[in-house]
Structure formats: structure tokens, C-alpha cells
């Protein structure tokens, strides 16, 4: 079992803040997520979800970023208190 408060970015609720722990994978998608600033230690806010539930809207490093749930599933985060 994972530690309490540890969950995938895709599983955060709207309004949650979390710290990125790590991103799994080494392909195109992972490289792009890193380049866009989702690096270990950075704080992310789950700002919203599209009307059909996917993709997600995040606030990271002061700007808004949209990624799909499947992409957010590979980002491990720790929920901020």
C-alpha cells in the first residue's frame, strides 16, 4: 500500500493542491510533461476538468496547463495539507 496522501495526479479532486513526486516512463509524453514544468517538488493545483471528465486543467508554475487523465496517471503526487 502507498503512504497516505500519495496519489496519482489524475486522481486529485478539483481544488486539490499537491506536490509532484515523480513521473514514470521515459517516452515522448514524460519528456513533454517534464519540459512543461511538472518536475519533482513543484506544486500543482487541480483547477478543473473538461465537461466530459477529461482532459484536466492544472495550474503549475503560474500558468494553466491541460493534460489528459491517461497522462496525469503517470505523475505521482503528494497531497498538500
Amino acid at each position: 500500500m502507498t503512504r497516505p496522501g500519495i496519489c496519482a495526479l489524475a486522481d486529485l479532486s478539483v481544488g486539490n493542491r499537491a506536490l509532484v513526486i515523480r513521473i514514470s516512463g521515459s517516452d515522448d509524453v514524460t519528456m513533454r510533461l517534464l519540459e512543461m514544468g511538472l518536475t519533482p517538488g513543484v506544486e500543482v493545483l487541480m483547477a478543473g476538468k473538461a465537461p466530459l471528465g477529461d482532459p484536466l486543467e492544472l495550474v503549475v508554475r503560474g500558468y494553466r496547463l491541460s493534460i489528459r487523465k491517461s497522462e496525469a496517471a503517470r505523475v505521482e503526487t503528494e497531497l498538500c495539507a
Binding site: V29, M31, M36, R61, L65
Partner: protein
């Protein structure tokens, strides 16, 4: 001799994230002095502009907007190769103009950190300072400049602020020797890098510069390895993986180490340089965003927006299109009056003017669609539209970015195909482009309208709510949509198969669209279509004209009509000018002229081709005349109406919008019989078969030329034409055969 010609121009590359105003800055700097072309083998546009500053001329090379200099596709490789001077078809770069968004420094400086490592003289344009100020962000520009080691110039491209200072700074630094900036990577990484550089550059072989070696080590997607380590150097791949393994052991996991290092570097640069309010007050952009991405209001707004865009392209464009048609008609009449009847007059009127008209007629739709696209993009809504539609489009294997190009294709596939540029992924972009012509465009409407009015009974069901005619029209649109979905799914599983591309997309801050940028986009898109499509479409149109005109053997064709012609001329000469009978005789004369035109049509090469292919189109229920008309409509679908008019002796000036014209053509079509029999050609299955054919076929030279222009290859338009024609034939065949079975 002026000073400008003494020295070669300085080549400056423009690079920056998307949504930083880079294109606006480029057009402000270069003005109209720009050339747009293609880099061979890729779909990246090659934009080169010129400017002069204090007597020195500059070449401005606009590179595609990007978040990172880590190439993972041939398209992304272009920017890196241009910057490193590895492309023969681009000038050697003397300096870099790096454009950054002042309201979003952190992420923008990531790219700057990569650019600085290239060791080229660099000027940073700090753009959108007004937005930053509104958000309460204060930047110590002098300090930033000092830490970066480059000039930093504040600009507001859309208001032309800071442009002179920028040009002066470029003049100061460009061409100067610049010391390469030490990469901010940790020591173990630099050691591995040094080792690889030696291994990769054995004496006597083409060198791979250090920035590319670094990229190679960091690119875990495998693209660069395949690209750089081909032909016999594959063994180095093992070294590469061993290096990465060692780095992971040393606490520098690849690829994460790059992002962590660079964002760490950015944090150091910005420490004490940027002051922002501790608690960010919700900006108006945030409030707008909450509403526009809201489950209910956001969806409603999106639907309303799409209806507005679609209706404008579809209906508003109708007025200017009408004016263009009248203008073309006016010029044609003028030429007909100036020149004697004959081959030259016919060539000019039907081949040349008709062909030019066939290109210009698309301009209103292109310009109107790009007005909306430019406004939506410039204000930041375009990304939200893709965000809202992504889930739906992902079911077809595409992303939300394909939605607007496909929607616009219902009005006209040409601007639709041109709008696919927003899709970065090559496979998604190609799929969208290849299925866009399946959307029933406005040029199919005349064909549908005519055949439905003539052959589909005007019945209604459910108390008048559902009409059979309207139902048929809807069915034609649905056939296109369903086929497009199937074709897209098949393409994404076969020819264009590959891993799902990242969707990862910035949702830019909302801002007011700049009228200059919008106007520029409209003119640029319209002009580029006319320039690229014009020549070829006119040539095809002349070719089809010649096929319908020649051999034009007057003796053979006119002989059977000679007696009647003389008789009518005689009657007209006898009758006094105000005799009531005169009108009837004149009508008879016009009908005879149409019959003669029809006879020429039958004798023409196209008529003969139609006869030759009749066995091939007979299973569709078509006679040779429909076959000929289908061939003649290759340049543009709507031509079929005029060609049917000629071949059925009605003359070609059929206006489907005029109920008189429509009724005449309908009456003739209803009475048409297979030659030599009294079996009627047209019935409901035949009419449906023609409609299905036109719903699915690629009879539009302009669309094919635009696909060639966007893909930079003739392969894809050829593929589009073949697959659509095959589908159209099979669809029409099935429709007719099943229809006949049911009609029994």
C-alpha cells in the same frame, strides 16, 4: 554603393514558446518583406523576412513556436538544425532573438536556458509586459539582463513598443563572438557528456556538435538515436544506455535531470529579479476561464461559438461569393462581346475566366474562417475549444485540436485543411487533413438540391415535422461523417499508426485580440491560397475546357442542324420587329443553339471518354452523359450542373438557385432516356447514386492542391483522390444496386 550592400545580411533566428507573440513580432519587424516556403521533407513552414536597421540588412528566420529544443520528430528537428547551421537550405545563423512572455517567465526561461547553451549571440525580447504589469508582476530588467548575460529588451509587439530598441540591440550583438554558456548540469552528467562527445566524433568523420550530443544523451524517446546513429554506428546505442544507467545510479535520472536542472537554474536567475503579489488575486482571465470551461455554461458558449463560426463561413460568405460570381459573369459577357465566337473566346471565357473564378470564389470562406480562427487563437479561446472537444475526438483516435478544422470543412474543405496547422502531431494532422474533404461542403449543395428537388418525392411524416427531402439531405451529410469516422479509425490503425501523441497543452491567458494580427492572418491565408492553388487550378480548368471543346468539327456537328437554322433565320428576317410571334421563334433559335452545343459536347473528347467509360459507370445506373459530367467536375464539384446542362441541350447557364432554371433542368432530366431506347435514365436510385458519389468523391482540384501545399508532397493528395474516388464508386454502386432491388 550603400552601406547595406557592403556587408552580407545578418541572419537572426526568432525562437520562443507558442503564445508569446512571436509571429506578431516577426510581422512587425519584417513587414511585407517576407517569403514563405517549405523545408523539404517536413511540413514545417519556412518563413524568412528582411529588415534594415541603421543601414545594415537582416534576414529574419522565424522558427516554429516550441517549448523546448529537444527534437522528437523531423518537424522539431528543423529548428535545431537551423540554429546549429546544419541545413544547407537556411542561412547560417549569426544571432538569436529569443521571445519570452513576461507574465510567464518561469516556463519561458526553460527554452532560453537551452538556447543560451548554443553559444550564439542572443537578444531576449521580454514581450507582453503589459499583461505582467496587470497581474502585479514586477521585473528588474537590468538585473535579469545581467544574470542572463544578454541584452533584455521590453517589448509589446502588438502595440509596436520597443521595436527600435530591439533592432538596435540585435545590431549590437549579432555577428559578435559569443562565449558558450556553461551548461548548468551536475558534474556526473558533464563527465558522461564529455565521454560521449569523444566517442561520437572519431577523427575524420562528420562531427556531431556538443549540443546535439547532449540532446542525444537526454532523448529517451529514441528519435535522435535513430536519426543520428544510423549507418553502422548503432553500437553506440549501447554506450548511450550504459551512460544513462550510470547517471541514474549517480542520482541524475535521465530524462528528468534536464527539467530539474534547468528549472533549478531558472529559479536562481529569477531569485530577487521578479516580485509578484504573495497571494495571486484572481485575474479577470481566471474568472473568464472558470465560466468558459464550466460544465454547462462553457459547453453552451462553445456550441454558440461554433454555430456562429459555421454559419458565418456558410451563409455570410454567400454574399461576397455572389458578388464574385456576378463580377465573373460580367467580365465573361464583356469578353464575349469583344471577341468573335470561336476557340479563343471560349478558351478565355470558359477555361481561363471560369478557372480563375473557380479559385477566387473560395476566398470569402477562407478569409471569414481565418478571421474567426485568428480571433479565437489570439484571445486564447482556441486552446479551450480543443480542451472541451478532446474527449469526443479522442474516440476517433484524434485530439480536440482536430475539431475546428473538421467543423470548418462542412463549409469548405480548403480553409479546413489550412486550419490543421494548429495540430502539432504529424500523424494526427495528416489524418485530419485526409478526412476533412469527406465533410459535405457547400459546393455539394447545388448537386444535392437539384437531384433532391427533382427525384425525391415531397412527402412528410410525423405531422409535417420530418420531410423526406430534408431527410435525404441529412442522410448525405451523415454518410460523409460516418465515412470520415471510419476512415480516421482505419488510418490511425494502419498507415498512420503510432503511439498516442502527448496532448499536453498550455491554456494561455485570455487577452483582447489585436486587430493587426487578425487582419494580417486573414490576408496572409487568403493570398497564400490564391498564389499556391491559383496556377494549378486554372491549368486543370483549361484542360477540362479543352476536353469539352475539341475537336470542335463544325462541318460534321452542324450539318444536321443547318436546314433548321436557315429556316429560323429566314423567319426572323421576315417578321416585323414588334410581331408577337417573334418571341416564339427567338426561343426556338435559342433551343436550337443549345442542341448544337449539346452535339458539340457529345462529339468532344470528353463526350467520347464518357462513351468509353459508360460500361464502368453503368452499374451505378449512370449513362455516358452523367459519366462525362462527373469527369468534367474534377476541378470543382458544382461544375457537374453546368455540364449536365450542356449535354442535355439546355445550355450551361443553369443557376440552381433560380427556380425557373432548376425546373427546366429537372424537367429535362426526368425525360432523359438511354440513347436509342425510351427507358428513362433518371429514377430515385440513380439520383441517390449520384448524390452518394458526390458526397464521397474528391472532385475538387483546389482541395487537393491545398493538401499538397500543407503536406509538402504529392503523395497525400494522390492518396486522398484515390481512396475517396474508390469509396465514392463503391458507395454509388451499392446505393444504386440496393435501390433497384428495393424498388424491384
Amino acid at each position: 554603393m550603400s552601406a547595406a550592400t557592403d556587408r552580407p545580411p545578418l541572419a537572426i533566428a526568432l525562437i520562443g514558446n507558442p503564445n508569446t507573440g512571436k509571429s506578431t513580432l516577426f510581422s512587425v519587424l519584417a513587414g511585407v518583406r517576407q517569403r514563405i516556403g517549405n523545408y523539404p521533407g517536413v511540413t514545417v513552414e519556412k518563413k524568412i523576412g528582411q529588415m534594415t536597421c541603421q543601414g545594415r540588412s537582416f534576414l529574419l528566420v522565424d522558427l516554429p513556436g516550441t517549448y523546448s529544443l529537444a527534437p522528437r520528430s523531423p518537424d522539431e528537428m528543423v529548428a535545431v538544425d537551423v540554429l546549429l547551421g546544419r541545413r544547407d537550405d537556411a542561412p547560417r545563423i549569426d544571432g538569436v532573438l529569443s521571445i519570452i512572455d513576461a507574465s510567464n517567465l518561469e516556463r519561458n526561461l526553460y527554452l532560453v536556458s537551452q538556447v543560451l547553451e548554443l553559444g550564439l549571440p542572443t537578444v531576449v525580447a521580454l514581450n507582453m509586459t503589459d499583461v505582467a504589469r496587470q497581474r502585479g508582476i514586477e521585473i528588474d530588467v537590468a538585473q535579469l539582463s545581467q544574470r542572463l548575460g544578454t541584452p533584455v529588451i521590453e517589448t509589446q509587439a502588438n502595440k509596436r513598443r520597443g521595436i527600435d530598441e530591439l533592432a538596435a540591440a540585435l545590431l549590437r550583438v549579432a555577428g559578435q563572438q559569443h562565449r558558450p554558456v556553461e551548461a548548468p548540469f551536475p558534474a556526473p552528467f558533464k563527465e558522461e557528456l564529455g565521454r560521449l562527445e569523444v566517442l561520437l566524433n572519431p577523427p575524420g568523420e562528420a562531427t556531431i556538435p556538443r549540443p546535439l550530443v547532449e540532446r542525444l544523451l537526454l532523448d529517451t524517446s529514441g528519435y535522435l538515436e535513430n536519426h543520428l546513429l544510423a549507418n553502422g554506428r548503432a553500437a553506440l546505442g549501447t554506450e548511450l544506455r550504459a551512460s544513462r544507467e550510470r547517471l541514474t545510479q549517480a542520482g541524475c535520472p535521465v530524462p528528468a535531470v534536464e527539467a530539474m536542472t534547468r528549472y533549478g537554474w531558472v529559479a536562481q536567475i529569477l531569485e530577487g529579479v521578479v516580485a509578484r503579489p504573495a497571494v495571486r488575486p484572481p485575474s479577470s482571465s481566471d474568472r473568464i476561464d472558470r465560466l468558459l470551461t464550466h460544465r454547462l455554461w462553457g459547453t453552451l458558449f462553445f456550441l454558440a461559438m461554433m454555430v456562429l463560426v459555421f454559419q458565418s463561413v456558410f451563409r455570410v460568405a454567400d454574399y461576397p461569393m455572389g458578388w464574385i460570381e456576378s463580377g465573373i459573369g460580367w467580365i465573361s459577357t464583356g469578353v464575349e462581346q469583344l471577341l468573335p465566337a470561336g476557340a479563343l473566346q471560349s478558351l478565355l471565357v470558359k477555361g481561363l475566366i471560369g478557372g480563375v473564378g473557380g479559385v477566387v470564389i473560395f476566398l470569402p470562406q477562407i478569409v471569414i474562417l481565418f478571421f474567426f480562427i485568428a480571433v479565437l487563437e489570439d484571445c486564447g479561446y482556441m486552446a479551450r475549444a480543443a480542451y472541451l472537444m478532446d474527449k469526443l475526438m479522442s474516440r476517433v483516435g484524434l485530439s480536440g485540436k482536430s475539431f475546428i478544422p473538421l467543423l470548418s470543412s462542412f463549409a469548405c474543405a480548403i480553409p479546413g485543411v489550412m486550419a490543421t496547422r494548429v495540430i502539432e502531431n504529424r500523424r494526427d494532422r495528416l489524418t485530419t487533413m485526409l478526412v476533412a474533404p469527406l465533410m459535405s461542403c457547400s459546393a455539394r449543395l447545388p448537386v444535392y438540391t437539384l437531384l433532391i428537388a427533382a427525384f425525391i418525392p415531397d412527402r412528410s411524416y410525423a405531422g409535417g415535422l420530418i420531410g423526406l427531402q430534408g431527410l435525404t439531405m441529412t442522410a448525405m451529410y451523415l454518410i460523409g461523417i460516418v465515412t470520415a469516422v471510419i476512415v480516421a479509425l482505419v488510418l490511425k490503425r494502419t498507415l498512420l499508426r503510432g503511439p498516442t501523441p502527448p496532448f499536453v497543452m498550455e491554456l494561455p491567458t485570455y487577452k483582447w485580440p489585436s486587430p493587426g494580427t487578425v487582419a494580417y492572418r486573414m490576408v496572409e491565408r487568403g493570398w497564400s491560397f490564391v498564389r499556391r492553388a491559383g496556377t494549378l487550378v486554372v491549368a486543370v480548368s483549361i484542360l477540362v475546357w479543352a476536353a469539352l471543346y475539341y475537336p470542335h468539327d463544325a462541318d460534321v456537328v452542324e450539318a444536321p442542324f443547318a436546314a433548321r437554322k436557315r429556316q429560323i433565320e429566314h423567319q426572323l428576317a421576315e417578321l416585323p420587329p414588334d410581331d408577337p410571334q417573334r418571341e416564339d421563334v427567338e426561343r426556338e433559335q435559342a433551343e436550337l443553339a443549345h442542341e448544337i452545343d449539346g452535339a458539340y459536347g457529345r462529339q468532344s473528347f470528353l463526350g467520347r471518354i464518357g462513351h468509353t467509360i459508360e460500361p464502368a459507370v453503368r452499374p451505378l445506373g449512370w449513362d455516358w452523359r452523367i459519366g462525362s459530367a462527373a469527369i468534367a467536375s474534377f476541378p470543382a464539384r458544382e461544375v457537374i450542373v453546368a455540364t449536365l446542362g450542356i449535354l442535355y441541350n439546355l445550355g450551361e447557364d443553369i443557376d440552381v438557385g433560380e427556380s425557373d432554371d432548376r425546373n427546366r433542368l429537372q424537367a429535362v432530366l426526368e425525360q432523359a432516356t438511354w440513347e436509342g431506347t425510351d427507358r428513362p435514365v433518371f429514377n430515385v436510385p440513380v439520383a441517390l447514386s449520384i448524390m452518394v458519389f458526390f458526397a464521397l468523391c474528391a472532385q475538387c482540384a483546389s482541395t487537393l492542391v491545398v493538401i499538397k501545399r500543407e503536406t509538402n508532397s504529392w503523395t497525400w493528395p494522390a492518396f486522398t483522390f484515390v481512396y475517396m474516388t474508390v469509396l465514392a464508386y463503391v458507395g454509388a454502386l451499392a446505393t444504386y444496386q440496393i435501390g433497384m432491388l428495393l424498388a424491384g
